[in-house]
């Protein structure tokens, strides 16, 4: 069966894990890996896994986009370079899946709003953050039952799973995730907290989601909605698991989740890496299925 050919930009933890996810996809094929350091381990690993590589950044990829028929690119670099990467590739008709906190395109959490982005043929879709992917489905599950005044999420991440880019730019992570709790999760106000825990052996990714509802929470309906949403996420992240809750405390609803990864590039504790790459892959697959079925067509973006 024909597959949609993809480029991966950024050869760190996320980019490398994406290779595994995309190689397993029935509709996607990883073709290029783009880095900036010729000596990087990530590029060497990508070559070993059969990808073409360049250490010249996105500019090193551009001459090959058309001849290699690259239609989807994943950007796992940083918020600071994403906009330029996206502009250059969109001009060549390549759809961008943004895994940085840049968020220049609409925010995407697959079980919440992927369908509407695919229908609109968005040329740049942002995946928010690992914590966003792990928590916003739950906020949305509560806000779909009744109005949520405030949504707060706490993500605990194993130190070994957090790369230098995220570490140096924690504020961007906080802003992007907080905003997405509102825009995608449906809470009127959102707040995101991140904690990096160095315990050895590393702790599994944990997320605590708290929502304050306007009215007394309908416990039965919220519990059912949360359980249904967890099943949706489990379709692409099998290790997404409810540990405790929903716990009801006046108007506060609290849900305690754990995310075990598939153990592709980093071990299973790095559920944060997995949920991000799995969500990005799921997003790309939806677009790829539509392209392959002839329902949508990617077009070069004219830049004014």
């Amino acid at each position: 069966m024909k597959k949609i050919r993809c480029a991966l930009i950024g050869s760190g933890n996320i980019g490398t894990d994406l290779i595994y996810k995309i190689q397993r996809s029935p509709v996607l094929e990883p073709v290029w890996m783009v880095g900036i350091d010729p000596e990087s381990e990530g590029l060497a690993r990508a070559r070993d896994m059969g990808l073409k590589t360049t250490a010249a950044g996105v500019d090193g990829l551009l001459p090959y986009v058309l001849e290699d028929n690259i239609q989807i690119a994943f950007d796992a670099t940083s918020a600071y370079v994403h906009a330029e990467n996206s502009r250059k590739l969109n001009e060549l008709g390549v759809m961008m899946i943004d895994l940085t906190p840049a968020a220049i395109g609409p925010l995407c959490v697959p079980p919440v709003n992927l369908r509407q982005h695919a229908d609109k043929v968005e040329m740049n879709v942002n995946m928010i953050s690992c914590a966003g992917q792990a928590t916003i489905p739950i906020v949305s599950a509560v806000s779909s039952v009744q109005a949520v005044a405030y949504g707060e999420i706490v993500a605990s991440l194993a130190s070994k799973s957090i790369g230098p880019g995220t570490r140096a730019n924690l504020d961007e992570f906080t802003y992007t995730t907080s905003n997405a709790i509102e825009v995608v999760g449906g809470a009127r106000k959102g707040k995101a907290l991140a904690i990096i825990n160095p315990a050895d052996p590393p702790m599994m990714m944990r997320n605590t989601i708290s929502c304050l509802t306007d009215e007394e929470p309908d416990q039965a309906r919220i519990t059912a909605s949360v359980h249904a949403m967890i099943k949706e996420v489990q379709k692409y992240v099998p290790g997404y698991r409810l540990v405790n809750g929903p716990l009801f405390d006046g108007k506060r609803v609290t849900v305690f989740m754990e995310v075990a990864g598939l153990g592709d590039y980093l071990p299973k504790y790095a559920g944060n890496l997995d949920i991000m790459t799995a969500a990005a892959t799921r997003t790309a697959e939806m677009f790829a299925e539509e392209i392959l079925a002839g329902k949508i067509q990617l077009k070069p973006l004219e830049v004014a």
Binding site: E152, P164, L170, N197, P198, P246, T254
Partner: protein, 351 residues
């Protein structure tokens, strides 16, 4: 006594924590009036630095850490306006507080900051330390739960914070776990790698009754800044009590510039009457120190313990075993629920 001669004439800067760490002991419920009465008394007693924020620092107002009745900016602004000599400082933990909040705190009058990370995660602080320096603030890197890293490891983390612009690097005994030898080894390791002009600070908790002894050990090993809190008002069994520490310093000839009797009076007349529980070494706070658990977990564990029928001590020991760190207060209720299920006190809900 050799220590007496060693330290005679040494100058130490006292950084008071009553209005920040003390917020934990008050479940974040301090009024502006209470803050003002304490801050003006501290200012009058010659304390040069007064930390004023939610217990968890900037961004701390949350379900996770509790909501204070006022914003950080309101507290900082109210206190800063009344200070004659003291500078107002703040706490910022990256991942919780952001540079937007740092700017707002500066605008409200804060001029000194502890940028805090867990003792192995200094590289989450470069943006915030650099930004504080750009604002011209007195900037400290604050390595929390320092007992969980080796002296050499801490030295490397401190070196990173110095490279981002930190003017002081703190060894922070958040769990009140360290003994004087642990403190000396860590401060000495930092001193060996930091630039001569970079200061070293120590922030103690009194969970094992070692707040004063550890602070003196830190000074012996070259620390020049000590965090303390009047009557120990702080998380767990409290911080190093300011008035006791100043008394010990006077006896040893260490110069703090603070008025001992004024501090004693405010401890007795102002702070103790506003305590909701006696801040002291008791069964639960001693468990924190003994097991090496973040001091702020104390009141959360007591509440979760009551709700789910699990003794607070059992929860604290389990949190220590799981190596939970500052900021993971959500894991207290989670751990209590999991323990309650295991003990047949809570029904498992099918997922």
């Amino acid at each position: 006594m050799s220590a007496e001669t060693n330290l005679k004439g040494r100058k130490v800067v006292i950084h008071d924590m009553s209005l920040r760490d003390g917020m934990h002991a008050k479940r974040e419920q301090m009024s502006i009036e209470q803050m003002l009465s304490i801050a003006t008394a501290l200012d009058d007693a010659g304390v040069p630095l007064i930390q004023v924020t939610h217990g968890a620092g900037l961004g701390g107002n949350s379900l996770q850490h509790g909501f204070a009745p006022h914003s950080n900016e309101e507290y900082i602004g109210a206190v800063a306006a009344k200070m004659k000599q003291a500078k107002v400082s703040i706490l910022l933990i990256p991942g919780l507080g952001t540079m937007k909040e740092l700017q707002a705190a500066y605008d409200a009058g804060a001029r000194s900051v502890h940028v805090a990370t867990h003792c192995t995660e200094a590289d989450t602080s470069p943006q915030h330390i650099a930004f504080a320096r750009k604002l011209g603030m007195d900037t400290s890197g604050f390595l929390m739960m320092a007992h969980l890293n080796t002296p050499e490891g801490l030295a490397q983390q401190g070196k990173l914070m110095e490279s981002y612009g930190a003017q002081t690097v703190y060894i922070t005994d958040s769990a009140g776990y360290m003994l004087p030898g642990d403190v000396k080894a860590r401060v000495s390791a930092l001193r060996a790698v930091l630039k001569p002009e970079t200061e070293i600070g120590f922030h103690g908790h009194h969970n094992m009754g070692m707040g004063i002894a550890n602070s003196i050990a830190a000074i012996e090993a070259s620390a020049t800044r000590i965090d303390a809190s009047v009557a120990g008002l702080g998380a767990g069994a409290g911080n190093t009590p300011t008035e006791v520490f100043v008394a010990v310093c006077e006896r040893m000839g260490i110069e703090t510039g603070c008025d001992l009797f004024k501090l004693m009076d405010m401890a007795e007349d102002l702070i103790v009457p506003m305590m909701e529980h006696m801040v002291r070494v008791d069964r639960a706070s001693l468990t924190l120190g003994f097991a090496g658990v973040y001091s702020t977990f104390l009141l959360h564990a007591k509440r979760a313990g009551e709700r789910f029928g699990i003794p607070a001590r059992d929860i604290l020991v389990e949190l220590g075993r799981k190596k939970m760190i500052g900021g993971q207060e959500d894991m207290i209720v989670d751990t209590a629920m999991t323990m309650a299920k295991e003990r047949g006190l809570l029904k498992e809900v099918a997922a």
